[in-house]
């Protein structure tokens, strides 16, 4: 009996079947799926198209599938060394994409453009902020990386800026059907500079992303109603579904970062003025030691007293608080002068090599009833600025289970803990480390500042090269820190019911919740807080969405199928914010509120929003080549007046697959035309209806309030964006060439804007419905396979091209110009102008076209140019076009990916160049110091005629005047750039090699991001953002931390 059993077992013992999968041209298909029908066993072909699968008996049926090809079943006495040839399916080629509300649809049915980015593109050569990974990967998507290192906000704008409110153009981020907050919660605090703690979407862990679907315009997003105006980024996370049986994956990614571009400084002259400098106390007691500019002596090695020169007392010269003094207060010791030498690498020396390590372990499993995925990720990053870091730990669990043949439950839970011990400050001022490099001495050896306390006064008195204006940069980074610790949970619970054969119901509730604590510390002797500071910001956010959806699908006749859906959503959002600050402390080094030496400063608010929605949509398909989609959604928002809080958003879309309707033949393998019309909208922020008074900090014992400087409005209406979109999808030569072209035209009307008004009216602004902005553009996606050899070499080239324009059609009666932002330069919306137009001040020029001096700068009789108070147009910060070019080369187990990102056109104002120009630090200021400079242009004679300027100014006077910060025109640069965004070289180890190991697949990649930059200016990366009053302002480089270049490797192992 036992033997019989054993024999039976042996008889059923598994056989290994080997085979090869080829395409119609007999080229191997790597990654094709081979599954034994009716079981959970399945494998994928390797790069040679080979597979090996265990089958229990020779009657087994194999199902071979590959995207874009007809599935093939092989049965009946399968032989070893099986060769399977798959035939292309131009219909199925239209892969399934995720559309609004998470509904998967065949791409060919859609009346609008959707682009997907695969998870693999996010994790191999990775960005900490997943938003950055989208740069260059999809047409119509503009991503601008932030300017304070790892953890910065990344700004994403889809199809241009439709809003007149700056920073209000973010698309909606949705993860597995649950909206995720993508706000950058500002940290604008009186007394402190701003800190960028990143945009909300950076909590999305790239390792858990299966795919990202980008819904670009209202036509695609109409079902999101009031939230769909700026597009939607739909993130689908990985589940256990794709894997049958147990799967374990381990990924280790390690990258090293260094600054991509550092401004070019001169190395001929050191600190001081008039060619003179000698340090005494750093407060102006010496010769020009109050001056933080580099107009001092030639760096020729002469001996000069400097902040780090030794003294006869044994202290450093800059140790002013501990050096011995005479009774009259003068120093009793002598400074021993040291050589005055160039330090060409001093700024580079400050930066360090950043490192980012990401480890992910995931376990998946599934069977016919359910699936589960558990993923743990640990990211630790050390920034290129010393003591700046970013950590993120992610726990993700998702799973589903079929409780019965009509009922399925699924759930997902993500817990993200992101934190940093120190995020650098932004903008112009002492707390920003980059501010120091435009007010610096070129002779300063950076190492001299590393020991940043004066001896015996640790924690109390810093040591520095200048005490009038600056903090020691190492003190700033190591003591004056901005930490945060954010705990975020998002996920859903969902039930799917098949009520009848044709009708299903989904009910789901999802939550996005976070709590973030920010802690700011400032040491004693800091410029802004002489007695230190301790600050806490406590941020709470919760949004809950509960929705249901009935879906009914029916094949009415053989040719006509019909789908109808009806659903609703309840959205409930709650915000709480509290900031408490002790702006001076009793005892150094103790950071808590009990140690406060003065009454605490505080800010607090809570707000909330509720939006209820009902929606329905229908689709009709005729013969599987003609498709019609109709949607309608009604929202009710708590932020709008109760008699006007309901609004309806319809859309219609048509798709026609001409290549199936008619026999086109020839090189055309697929041809589809699509078009649609849609309306979406927007509500407003909470509390926009009635004016209130705000509390100010008390003055002594007197509590104070201020009237609102914004006039609110009880008669607001919802905003409305109307869009049309048409497009064509063409493929030729068996899909070797694919061209997808989209034209869109979207008009946003009745915008709810905070309209600036003359403050002589008693208000700075009022909230109204006004303005009409038209956005239109062309998006082209060109996919080609230029080379595909039988030997297995393939080159895929994918180009995304975008040319977008935003046009201001109207504002409000009588108003021709609206100021959108003014962070140094003014971003103005002028009727007839383009969104993103930048205005600023410049110099007076000869405006008589008949004058021989036409166009030349006018100077006064002392040789100083004359400023022109009129604002003039300096350009537009948006690019004329963007082009992303992804190349993928595969050969055997190797694959090489090269991504270029080209943005052409646009301008950027560089504050670094402007200020560094006045202070004698930039390289170009070394010219003309000895002999003086005659500013180019003319002088106006008393009779009104002109003569060439003939007055020579000292170098400092010339550059101070020319690069004066009010001469914004001189700080403008072409923002065009070409970046080598990404290179990755990967190798998949052949399965043969892994055969006798536990390892199923092994991939090793060398990766690089932002490896090269080509742009007009040598000083900074024009891809940059600035911050002003909590608002992100593009088009200004304002003491930006250099962007970084990263190189590293990625290893992925699966078992």
């Amino acid at each position: 009996m036992a033997f019989a059993f054993l024999a039976a077992a042996i008889g059923h013992s598994q056989n290994t079947l080997r085979g090869k999968v080829l395409d119609e041209n007999n080229i191997p298909l790597p990654g094709a799926s081979v599954v034994v029908k009716g079981s959970s066993a399945g494998v994928a072909t390797d790069f040679d198209g080979n597979f090996a699968i265990e089958i229990s008996n020779s009657d087994a049926v194999l199902v071979i599938t590959y995207i874009g090809y007809f599935a093939k079943e092989v049965s009946g006495g399968i032989q070893d060394n099986l060769v399977v040839v798959l035939q292309p399916d131009s219909q199925q080629l239209d892969e399934v994409v995720v559309t609004a509300l998470g509904i998967k649809k065949e791409k060919k049915r859609l009346g609008y453009a959707v682009q997907e980015v695969k998870g693999d593109d996010l994790v191999t050569a990775r960005e900490t902020n997943v938003t950055n990974s989208l740069a260059g990967r999809a047409a119509g998507v503009q991503v601008t990386g932030g300017s304070s290192g790892v953890g910065s906000t990344s700004l994403i704008v889809i199809r241009g800026e439709g809003s007149l409110i700056p920073g209000n153009n973010s698309p909606l981020f949705v993860v597995d059907g649950i909206p995720i907050n993508n706000r950058t919660v500002s940290n604008s605090v009186e007394g402190n500079l701003e800190t960028d703690f990143g945009n909300g979407a950076q909590d999305i862990n790239p390792d858990d992303v299966e795919s990202i679907s980008i819904l670009k315009g209202p036509n695609a997003t109409a079902l999101y109603g009031s939230r769909g105006m700026n597009g939607v980024v739909l993130v689908t996370t990985k589940t256990g579904k794709s894997k049958q049986g147990l799967g374990v994956s381990i990924t280790q990614n390690m990258t090293f970062e260094d600054p991509l571009r550092i401004p070019r400084y001169q190395n001929q002259y050191g600190q001081g003025a008039g060619g003179e400098f000698a340090f005494l106390d750093g407060f102006g007691g010496g010769i020009n030691d109050n001056i933080d500019e580099s107009w001092g002596p030639l760096l020729d090695g002469r001996l000069i007293a400097q902040h780090d020169s030794p003294t006869t007392s044994g202290f450093r010269a800059g140790d002013f608080a501990v050096r011995p003094r005479n009774p009259d207060g003068t120093f009793a010791d002598q400074i021993i002068p040291t050589p005055w030498e160039p330090q060409p690498g001093n700024i580079e020396d400050f930066f360090r090599t950043g490192t980012t390590s990401t480890t992910n372990i995931s376990v998946t499993g599934g069977n016919e009833f359910g699936d589960l995925r558990l993923s743990l990720t640990n990211l630790t990053s050390e920034g290129i600025l010393p003591n700046a870091d970013f950590d993120r730990k992610t726990y993700a669990l998702s799973g589903s289970y079929k409780l019965s043949d009509w009922l399925k439950v699924s759930s997902s839970l993500n817990y993200v803990n992101s934190s940093s011990n120190n995020r650098p400050n932004n903008s112009y001022g002492t707390e920003n480390i980059m501010y120091l490099w435009v007010w610096f001495g070129r002779q300063i050896n950076m190492n001299s500042l590393r020991d940043y306390w004066q001896p015996g006064l640790e924690g109390r008195q810093q040591f520095n090269f200048n005490y009038n204006w600056h903090d020691n940069p190492f003190l700033t980074m190591f003591e004056n820190t901005n930490a945060f610790d954010k705990h975020r949970i998002f996920g859903f619970a969902r039930v799917d019911m098949d009520l009848t054969k044709d009708l299903s119901l989904m009910v789901r509730t999802g939550i996005d919740y976070f709590n973030e604590l920010r802690i700011g510390k400032r040491a004693f002797s800091s410029q802004r807080f002489a007695r230190g500071q301790y600050r806490e910001d406590d941020i709470f956010f919760k949004e809950q969405n509960t929705d249901f959806l009935f879906q009914y699908n029916k094949e009415v006749t053989k040719d006509v199928s019909l789908g109808f859906s009806f659903g609703g959503n309840l959205r409930d959002e709650e915000n709480r914010y509290k900031r408490i600050s002790a702006n001076s402390l009793s005892i150094p080094g103790i950071f808590n509120f009990e140690n406060a030496a003065e009454p605490l400063s505080k800010t607090q608010f809570i707000d909330g929003r509720k939006v209820n929605s009902l929606y329905a949509f229908a689709n009709v398909a005729y013969k599987n080549y003609l498709f019609l989609d109709v949607t309608g959604r009604n929202d009710w928002s708590s932020t709008l007046p109760s008699d006007n809080n309901s609004y309806f958003y319809p859309s219609v879309g048509v798709s026609a697959v001409l290549s199936d309707m008619f026999q086109i033949g020839g090189p055309v393998s697929f041809l589809k035309l699509r078009g649609g019309w849609a309306v979406v909208g927007n509500d407003t922020d909470p509390f926009a209806l009635r004016n209130t008074f705000s509390f100010d900090e008390p003055f002594g014992n007197s509590q104070r309030v201020s009237a609102s400087n914004v006039l609110k409005n009880e008669n607001l209406k919802p905003e409305e964006a109307t869009s049309i979109e048409v497009g064509a999808d063409l493929r030729f030569f068996n899909n070797r060439l694919g061209l997808d072209v989209t034209y869109y035209n979207s008009t946003v009307e009745n915008q709810i804007i905070t309209l600036p008004v003359s403050n002589t009216s008693g208000f700075n602004s009022r909230i109204i419905n006004a303005g009409e902005i038209r956005n239109y553009g062309i998006e082209v996606v060109l996919n080609t396979v230029p080379v595909k050899t039988k030997g297995g070499f393939t080159w895929n080239s994918d180009v995304n091209f975008t040319a977008a324009r935003g046009e201001v059609k109207s504002l409000i009666d009588g108003l021709e110009t609206l100021e959108i932002s003014s962070n140094y330069i003014n971003v103005l919306a002028k009727v007839g102008g383009r969104m993103g137009d930048v205005y600023g001040t410049g110099l007076l020029t000869v405006d008589d076209p008949n004058s021989p001096f036409f166009g030349q700068v006018i100077h006064n009789s002392d040789g100083f140019s004359i400023r022109d108070p009129e604002l003039k147009k300096l350009g537009n910060y948006n690019p004329d076009f963007m082009l992303g070019w992804q190349n993928t080369f595969t050969y055997k187990g190797f694959n090489l990916g090269v991504l270029f990102d080209w943005r052409h056109g646009g301008v950027v104002n560089s504050r670094t160049v402007l200020i560094g120009g006045t202070s004698g630090l930039m390289d170009f200021t070394a010219v003309g110091r000895e002999e003086g400079i005659i500013s180019e242009g003319v002088i106006q004679n008393p009779d009104g005629s002109f003569r060439p300027n003939d007055v020579r100014l000292s170098g400092r006077d010339f550059y101070w005047w020319k690069f004066n910060r009010t001469n914004e025109e001189i700080g403008m640069f072409d923002a065009s750039f070409l970046k080598l965004r990404e290179v990755r070289l990967g190798y998949n180890f052949p399965s043969k090699m892994l055969k006798n190991t536990f390892i199923r697949t092994l991939n090793l990649s060398l990766v690089g991001r932002n490896l090269a930059l080509w742009t007009e200016n040598p000083h900074f990366d024009p891809e940059t953002l600035s911050f002003s009053g909590g608002t992100i302002v593009p088009g200004v480089e304002d003491m930006a931390t250099p962007s970084s270049r990263s190189v590293g490797f990625n290893i992925n192992v699966t078992f």
């Binding site: 102006g284 509390f687 007197s702």
Partner: protein, 479 residues
């Protein structure tokens, strides 16, 4: 089944629809009140305006009057002027609070003639600064956004002065009733008698301002006769900094040393103070830093030098006197924020007498003005000896009076500049050598860019009316 589904969807839809009940509550701001009492607003108005008087006095006010000079960031000192939009915004920005106090004080249920009077005084003070700095500005139509006027027209300076003088007169009368002030008065602690003196003293200031245009003698005489004016330093419209926090401290003390250090003793004031052996020299300034200098060496910096010339003057910053650091920088509350002092009132009377506008002995009031200024600054000085010196002793010349008035205007807004524009005195104020305004002292600021864009029609109308948005176009009272 179908019925069940239909019922189910109706239930779900109704659930969604019925949930709008809480909307009103969700959208009611729980953080901020919709109505407040006047005391909370008054504290804001007074602290803002007094602080602004002292801060602008410290900065551009002293510089344009050449009481101090810039050693760094010399643009303003060289008359490279813009719109000073920050000041514009501050002044128009505080008017709504004043108007809300006024409205509440006039409303039947909250009627209070003292708050009404105080609001009228502060309103006049704010508009006077606006018109003295920019010329024609929105006045009659200003602060009317609640009624839909977002583009107020500009009024002539004369119209504005008529309104200001009228309101100050009304305010003084309203304050006579002595309605109680319930709080927020961080200048006079609710003493309405003091507010009456302040109202009349401001009126004196503005009457003198327009005295070249209009016969103001009877009004000045009437105030003089009434005795209701700021006669002693106890009457001064002065705010003390509580210095309990960053916010309620003398702002310079909370800034960087470098910002404090940009301002230096001017060569102009050096020669006057040294010439008069005036001990305000040591009160306001300190000897040079250079250890090899005489420890009592005071050196002033010429106004209006280029960046390079200012830095390198006399061999660099260590050879130029700073302002007295222990008083102006190290201490958060040594400096008082003065809107109007008794010394100024006495110099106004002295001038009125010197010019024969009113009857009286100019010398007595002139001497008293000097004494009050010394007292205000806590100066120990032999007054008799001081007053007997050449240049100080009253000689019947207006410049003698204005020179002392100029010294007494130290840290008081732009008062020194306004008197210079009106009288051309002190005549020793001459533009610095590197000025970029053709050796003219500017007489106004440019209108802000925001008016160019947000109130463009009225902006263009006023610019064409006054003859250009230019820093050299004189206002009505100085023409």
């Amino acid at each position: 089944m179908k019925k069940f589904i239909l019922l189910g969807s109706i239930v779900l839809a109704l659930t969604v629809l019925s949930c709008t009940e809480g909307f009103e509550e969700t959208n009611t701001n729980p953080n901020q009140p919709e109505e407040v009492s006047s005391d909370l607003l008054l504290a804001t108005v007074l602290s803002t305006m007094a602080n602004s008087a002292a801060s602008t006095g410290w900065g551009n006010g002293n510089v344009v009057a050449q009481l101090t000079a810039k050693i760094n960031f010399t643009g303003f000192d060289r008359y490279d002027w813009g719109s000073e939009s920050g000041l514009w915004n501050l002044h128009y920005g505080i008017l709504p609070e004043i108007d809300i106090i006024l409205e509440s004080a006039r409303a039947e249920e909250t009627k209070n003639s003292s708050y009404e009077g105080i609001a009228l005084i502060m309103r006049s003070y704010v508009f006077a600064i606006l018109t003295d700095n920019w010329g024609n500005v929105p006045f009659t139509d200003a602060i009317d956004g609640v009624n839909g006027n977002f583009t107020p027209a500009y009024d002539d300076q004369e119209i504005i002065y008529n309104g200001i003088l009228n309101d100050l007169e009304t305010a003084e009368v309203l304050l006579r009733a002595g309605d109680p002030v319930f709080g927020g008065d961080i200048i006079y602690g609710g003493n309405t008698a003091q507010w009456r003196k302040f109202a009349n003293s401001l009126r004196l200031r503005y009457l003198m301002r327009i005295s070249g245009k209009r016969d103001v003698s009877s009004e000045i005489q009437a105030i003089f006769n009434s005795g209701v004016f700021i006669a002693t330093n106890e009457d001064n419209a002065v705010m003390l900094y509580p210095a309990t926090t960053l916010i309620d401290s003398w702002p310079v003390s909370r800034s960087r040393v470098g910002s404090f250090d940009e301002f230096r003793m001017s060569e102009t004031i050096e020669s006057v103070l040294k010439g008069f052996n005036d001990n305000r020299l040591q009160k306001w300034f300190q000897p040079t830093d250079n250890p090899s200098d005489d420890p009592n060496l005071f050196v002033g910096l010429p106004n209006g030098l280029s960046e390079d010339n200012a830095s390198n003057f006399n061999g660099g910053a260590s050879n130029v006197s700073r302002l007295r650091q222990s008083f102006f920088f190290d201490s958060p509350n040594s400096v008082k924020a003065a809107i109007l002092q008794s010394a100024e009132v006495h110099f106004i009377f002295a001038e009125a007498m010197q010019r024969g506008l009113i009857a009286g002995d100019a010398e007595t009031l002139y001497n008293e003005g000097i004494r009050l200024s010394f007292e205000y600054w806590d100066i120990t000085q032999d007054l008799g000896a001081y007053l007997s010196q050449n240049g100080v002793a009253y000689d019947g010349q207006l410049e003698t009076i204005i020179t002392q008035k100029w010294l007494a205007s130290f840290l008081v807004g732009f008062e020194g500049w306004y008197d210079f524009r009106r009288t051309g005195l002190p005549s020793f104020i001459v533009p610095g050598s590197d000025n970029v305004n053709d050796d003219r002292v500017p007489v106004r600021f440019l209108y802000p860019d925001s008016e160019q864009t947000l109130n463009s029609q009225n902006f263009e109308a006023v610019v064409s009316k006054i003859g250009g948005n230019d820093i050299n176009i004189k206002g009505w009272w100085e023409q």
